[in-house]
């Protein structure tokens, strides 16, 4: 049974990627087939999540796969965003007419990218988790310059180099921890298994464990867009095709933060949580500040969204350091962010197509030209700004509350101020886009379409999240918190 579920989760994106690679003809048909395959993963992830939320045991297959509540949460997010991305990407988007080669390239990499992320959160072996996260760089880098421009190729290189080097540092941390645990006499074949490591962690040398965590935080933090190694992110996320931006921002950052959280559990057993918490607070605050203070000066819509991702990752990182309540809030925040950011990035693709430009000043009068897209963007931006009734409002309030409860009133005040700055900046930028005189020669009006309908789903979910967390999600989040904070 467990084997079937894991196969249903991992096979569809892998098979679709291989299919796109093998079938050169009729890329549009491959693309439409892809729209049918990705939801299979989503259903599988959902089934696992429901099982865990209702008190079931983790899904275990062999020595490699183990999906607990934390993994299931991430798997659901990855599969959801990937489903949106494959449904609205080149080959199926009716508005755009992509070349056959572009469609094929997109379908190959987007599926393999989703596959590597799903593997990263489904494996119990932290060595393999590292391999899968490194592979996410390989599978996404070539997709950034899908429309080949100098800027996109440069962004891809920057992402590839900084991402690879950062992730290599995470491997250094992994190896340091492994060397340490191997010296304690644990069977080395399971020494990188998260469950075995957690058992053996009390025997770790405290200084080695701390050293390993620093490497791991810098390494996976680079992939998660945490300061000061976030510099690749604004370029990569803004130059990538919008469906890829949605996946990179919505879930890849969360996957990297997931890796940090997995290791945090191990290191906390070895040296107590004060060490990792302090590091996460410092890094989280710095990242939040970088993201929040950069928002107002952005002139490109997608760069604005990219810096907003940095801001939200900083906040989630801060939340992870604040005990069970903060951890709950951080996971809820990652959930809301995955929905809001993937939606806004996918909408940015529509704006880009309509106006032929991604600069904020060139997209004035959006409300008049494309009212449906405009309303959805406004909702998405309100959500990202932390306005009620959207889910991110609730998680931000909870993080602030957790910060207060954990005895950091000054730091929490700073967080609150930065969040207000971010909110104000997003509002000003949104106002610039929605109103004013549209540039001449832009088509007016917008029909209702499947894409608009599909993109309203996450917006509705976000509003629902803010009003009341659905009971199954509440349960899943609580179980996931138990994984990080036993």
């Amino acid at each position: 049974m467990d084997l079937m579920v894991v196969l249903a989760l991992l096979t569809p994106p892998f098979a679709a990627g291989v299919l796109a690679l093998g079938v050169r003809r009729a890329p549009a048909r491959v693309a439409w087939l892809n729209v049918l395959t990705m939801p299979i993963s989503l259903v599988a992830a959902g089934a696992i999540a429901v099982r865990l939320a209702t008190g079931g045991t983790p899904v275990v297959v062999g020595e490699v796969w183990r999906i607990d509540a934390l993994s299931a949460l991430l798997a659901v997010l990855i599969a959801s965003v990937a489903t949106l991305a494959v449904a609205l990407g080149p080959g199926t988007a009716r508005e755009e007419h992509s070349q056959a080669a572009e469609i094929r390239t997109f379908r190959i990499y987007v599926n393999l990218f989703a596959f590597t992320m799903l593997v990263a959160v489904s494996t119990v072996n932290l060595g393999l988790m590292w391999v899968a996260i490194e592979a996410t760089t390989v599978t996404s880098a070539l997709l950034i310059p899908l429309h080949r421009t100098k800027a996109s190729v440069d962004a891809s290189w920057k992402y590839l180099l900084i991402g690879s080097v950062g992730i290599a540092l995470a491997f250094t941390g992994t190896v340091l921890a492994y060397v340490d645990v191997a010296a304690t006499g644990v069977d080395i074949n399971v020494a990188l298994h998260w469950t075995a490591l957690r058992e053996a962690a009390t025997a770790l040398h405290p200084q080695v464990a701390r050293l390993a965590f620093v490497f791991l935080l810098v390494g996976f933090g680079t992939k998660a867009g945490l300061a000061p190694t976030h510099t690749w992110l604004p370029d990569a996320h803004s130059e990538a095709p919008s469906p890829l931006s949605a996946m990179m921002s919505g879930v890849l950052l969360a996957v990297a933060l997931y890796a940090v959280a997995r290791w945090k559990v191990i290191v906390d057993v070895a040296v107590g949580s004060v060490f990792t918490d302090s590091l996460l607070i410092v890094v989280g605050l710095a990242t939040l500040a970088v993201g929040s203070l950069s928002l107002l000066s952005q002139t490109h819509f997608k760069r604005l969204l990219a810096f907003s991702s940095i801001e939200h990752m900083g906040l989630a990182c801060f939340g992870l350091a604040l005990g069970p309540l903060g951890t709950f809030a951080a996971l809820l925040h990652l959930t809301g962010h995955a929905l809001a950011k993937s939606t806004t990035f996918l909408l940015s693709g529509r704006v880009l197509h309509r106006f032929g430009s991604g600069t904020i000043s060139a997209t004035r009068g959006l409300l008049a030209t494309a009212p449906k897209t405009a309303v959805l963007i406004a909702a998405g931006m309100f959500a990202l700004g932390g306005l009620p009734p959207f889910g991110l409002f609730l998680s931000e309030i909870l993080i602030v509350k957790a910060g207060w409860a954990a005895g950091h009133p000054l730091l929490t005040t700073a967080v609150l101020i930065l969040l207000l700055i971010a909110f104000g900046s997003l509002l000003v930028q949104l106002h610039r886009m929605l109103f004013g005189e549209p540039p001449t020669g832009i088509a007016q009006g917008e029909r209702a379409s499947g894409a608009v309908l599909l993109l309203s789903v996450p917006v509705v979910l976000l509003a629902w999240l803010g009003l009341s967390i659905p009971a199954p999600l509440q349960m899943l989040l609580s179980k996931a918190v138990m994984v990080i904070r036993p």
Binding site: N125, L128, V138, P145, V153, L160, V175, A182, Q207
Partner: protein, 207 residues
């Protein structure tokens, strides 16, 4: 026997660190690639020595893979990239040679200081080489951040990978085989993707 084993691994590790310094001091892509190839061979030899003395027979296979992937395929890909670039011009780093070597010296000292607790927890005869492996990690990282040329950056990244492999080899006789294989796959695909992006950079710059 154990003393000889310890000394051989120390020597090989030191050779690997010295080969990283070559990148800081020579200024031609060809020299970088040769240094990386030689370093990978030294890593494979270390692996084989650890395999025979440490009784970890899996490592023979891993050493063979290192030889094939990092000693042969990857350097060939890099040489191809360099040939396509068709330039024999000097590669100008951000920092001059003297400063670079000084920084590397400081990094090596830092590596010794940082890895002290590691040597405490271990009782393998190879533990003496751990600070050198960590120094190789740091120096390689420094190569990546201080060089502007893509070939030098890629070689720095690959040497960083070699440093981590050395760390695993000396610290625990290698990581589990399944992880090792995944790492090989990542390195290989990573280099191929880097090659593809570098070609695209040249194409778009030429336009």
């Amino acid at each position: 026997m154990e003393a000889a084993f310890s000394r051989i691994t120390m020597t090989a590790a030191s050779a690997m660190l010295l080969l990283a310094l070559v990148v800081l001091w020579r200024r031609h892509a060809g020299a970088y690639i040769t240094a990386f190839r030689t370093q990978s061979i030294a890593l494979a030899v270390t692996g084989a020595v650890v395999a025979s003395y440490g009784g970890a027979s899996e490592l023979f296979f891993v050493s063979f893979m290192i030889l094939v992937v990092k000693g042969w395929i990857v350097p060939s890909v890099l040489s191809g990239m360099d040939a396509k670039r068709q330039s024999a011009r000097e590669l100008r780093p951000l920092l001059n040679t003297e400063t670079s070597l000084l920084v590397s010296g400081a990094l090596a000292v830092a590596a010794y200081e940082i890895s002290r607790p590691l040597a405490e927890v271990m009782n393998l005869p190879t533990r003496g080489g751990l600070p050198i492996a960590l120094a190789l990690v740091f120096v390689s990282l420094f190569i990546v951040v201080s060089r502007r040329e893509v070939i030098a950056q890629i070689v720095g990244f690959l040497m960083l990978e070699n440093g981590i492999a050395l760390l695993a080899l000396l610290g625990a006789y290698g990581v589990p085989l399944i992880v090792e294989l995944g790492v090989f796959l990542d390195v290989l695909l990573g280099v191929l993707v880097m090659q593809a992006v570098v070609y695209q950079i040249h194409d778009t710059s030429a336009d």
